[in-house]
């Protein structure tokens, strides 16, 4: 089922529209997208934590973000959570929904900040509503682990794994 498709397609349209209206100022579009993500994150966490028990500590909050929050938005959990126990958390999503429709390596790299800004805001907004102030940045590490998906009518479809890391500094 394509149950994640409406959100993904709407997100793409949003980026397209914002970048068109921001008169080529890339930084401004990114800020706007981040702000929108922030507000959506606030709204979401309010609904999701309605019936949950109080969180023990920061790590507990972060686990909730990686499991429940991520599943609600992206239909899968974060693949890897690491921390230095001093306020830095690294969340890794190996198949990030909002980048999964981009396949090739170089041509998308310049567009990556636009496609990550909303999600950075989303996480920041969610944490903010749980009383955790944070700075959220994202970084893409393309792993060109090329897999042949389909060979059909002389066309070869290729795909690359996209490793996405979110870095949280609290």
């Amino acid at each position: 089922m394509a149950h994640e498709a409406p959100f993904q397609l709407l997100h793409s349209e949003l980026i397209h529209y914002i970048c068109k209206t921001a008169d080529g100022e890339n930084g401004r579009s990114v800020t706007k997208l981040e702000n929108m993500g922030f507000r959506v994150g606030q709204g979401l966490i309010e609904r999701l934590t309605k019936d949950t028990a109080r969180f023990k500590d920061e790590l507990d909050v972060m686990k909730f973000i990686c499991k429940d929050f991520w599943t609600c938005v992206f239909k899968k959990q974060i693949d890897n959570l690491r921390t230095n126990h001093q306020g830095i958390y690294v969340l890794q999503d190996n198949k990030f929904l909002l980048l999964s429709h981009m396949s090739a390596g170089k041509q998308y790299l310049e567009h990556a900040p636009k496609y990550l800004a909303f999600t950075c805001g989303l996480v920041r907004g969610a944490l903010s509503n749980m009383g955790v102030k944070s700075i959220v940045t994202a970084e893409v590490s393309v792993m060109p682990a090329c897999k042949t998906l389909n060979v059909e009518s002389e066309m070869i479809y290729l795909t690359f794994d996209l490793g996405l890391k979110f870095l949280l500094r609290l």
Copy 2:
């Protein structure tokens, strides 16, 4: 679970942003929202019909919209589908996701077109990709069937059923 919340909140943010940037021109915002819905509808129907059998006729297409398509986007089916068998279809959703957060009767009525434009475009785009040209309009009939939901700490929460009809003219 709040699995429909990300889409709903993103949709609200989108409306907010578009209306802000359209310099108060309500008609222009509505057109933009309709266009965005159109493109999302096209993308969605492509994914949803990838593995379905060929549709018999127009009514068959319309049933697919009411069941599979509606469930994918709004997490429920259309409640009622009527047709005059001459190209007019009336789809009724008694608890429409994108209006369900608005409760009272009059204050939202002037905002209704903004909240329905995207969905009208969505249906038009989906139908268009299935080879059906259409005009889609929406109409809200507020039924003030007041139900007391919760009486708690001297506050009374009230809710109203919202009857929403989509009229399709092919």
